[in-house]
Symmetry: C2
Subunit: 190 residues, 2 copies
DNA sequence: GTCTATAGCATGATAGAC
DNA sequence: GTCTATCATGCTATAGAC
C-alpha cells in the first residue's frame, strides 16, 4: 500500500475517532508512518486530505447500507438495517462529522456528509413507499418522515450509547423503533 | 453579573457551538471579557470550567424537559416533547458533548452527559409506562425501548439537520416518530 | 481579583536538501 | 517522493505586578 493510501486510511480512522478539529496533521503522519514532507507532497493540507478521507468513508457507508437494504420485504429490510450489528460506542464515521463546527462551516467538507444522509433517507423512503404500495404498511405512514425517523434513531442511538458508556441504550432505541414499525405493518393486514 | 458567572455562561455557549476540543481558554476569556489571570483565579483550568458549565447545562436541560413532560395524557406529553420548537441546526448542548473524545475519555466530564440521558430516558419510560397502565398505548410496547427511541430520534434529528444544513430532516424525524406512536395509541385508533 | 508577561509545547504549513 | 529544519501562530498554564 502506497503512502497516499496510508495517509487517507489513517485520516479516515482518526476523523472517526477524534473528529476534524481533534485530528492534527502530525497525528495523521504518525499513524500513517509518513513524514510531513510526504503528506504535503500528496495533499495541499489538512482540508484536502480530510475531504478525500470523508468522501471515501461516505462511499463505503453508502455501499454497505445499499447492500444491507436489499432483499426481503420492506419491513425485513428496514429491520435488518436497524438491527445490524454495530460498534455503537464508536458511532457513525459520517454522522460524527455533522457535530464538527469546522466541517459544517465549510460547504466543501459538509457536502459528503449531506450527500450520505440525503441518499440514506431517500433510499429508506423508497423502501417504505414500496411497503406502502404492497399494502405492507398502514397508508397513514409518510415515507419521508418514517425514513428520517429510522435514520435519526440510529444516529441518536450512538449519542445515547456514548453518553452512557454502554451499547445498551443503542440497542433499546433500535428495538423500540423496530417494535413500532413491525406492529404497524402487521396490524395493517387485519 | 460577576466574572465567574460570565466565564461559566461563555463556556456553556462555546461548548454548545464548538465542543470541548474546539473551545480554547482564550476564546472563553474573550467571550466573557475577562483576562487570563481572572479565569485561572476562579477555575483551575479548562477541565474544571468546562465541568462547571456542563453541569449547569445538564441541570437546565433537565429542568426544561421536566416542565415539558408534565400535563396531559402520556401521548400528549411525549408528543409535546418531540414537537417542541427547537433550533435543530444548533443541536443539543448536552448530547453534543457525547461526540467529543476528550469528554468521553474523562469519567468526570462524561458524568453530567450520562446523568442527563439516563434521567431523560427514565422519565420518558415512566410516562410510557403510565400510558400502558392507563390502556392508552398498545400493551406490546416496551417502556424503556420506546423511551430510548424517543430520545434517540431527537438527538439523531439534530445530526440530520446539521448534515443537511436545514431544519427539515429534524422535523420529518420527529413527525415520523409521533405518527408511529399515535398510531399505537388507543386514543388515536378510535 | 484582575492584569500583563512569559513559558513550553502543539499546530499547520513551508523550504530546501537528498 | 521523502526527509529534516524551520517558521509563525495558537494553546494551556504559570508568575508576579498591581
Amino acid at each position: 500500500m502506497d503512502t497516499a493510501e496510508r495517509l487517507i486510511e489513517s485520516t479516515q480512522e482518526l476523523l472517526w475517532e477524534r473528529g476534524y478539529t481533534g485530528t492534527s496533521p502530525k497525528a495523521i503522519q504518525q499513524h500513517a508512518g509518513a513524514g510531513q514532507g510526504s503528506m504535503y507532497h500528496h495533499f495541499s493540507g489538512k482540508p484536502e486530505l480530510a475531504l478525500t478521507a470523508m468522501r471515501r468513508s461516505a462511499e463505503q457507508l453508502i455501499a454497505q447500507a445499499d447492500a444491507q437494504l436489499s432483499g426481503g420485504t420492506a419491513l425485513e429490510r428496514v429491520s435488518a438495517y436497524l438491527l445490524r450489528e454495530r460498534d455503537a460506542l464508536r458511532g457513525c464515521r459520517v454522522g460524527r462529522m455533522a457535530m464538527d463546527p469546522d466541517v459544517i462551516d465549510s460547504p466543501e467538507l459538509r457536502r459528503p456528509v449531506q450527500e450520505t444522509f440525503t441518499w440514506l433517507r431517500g433510499r429508506l423512503a423508497e423502501i417504505v413507499a414500496e411497503g406502502l404500495a404492497a399494502g405492507e404498511f398502514d397508508a397513514a405512514l409518510d415515507p419521508r418522515d418514517t425514513a428520517a425517523m429510522i435514520t435519526a434513531v440510529v444516529q441518536g442511538g450512538y449519542v445515547l450509547a456514548r453518553a452512557e458508556g454502554s451499547q445498551e441504550p443503542f440497542h433499546q432505541a433500535v428495538r423500540g423503533a423496530v417494535a413500532l414499525l413491525a406492529a404497524r405493518s402487521t396490524t395493517a393486514v387485519q
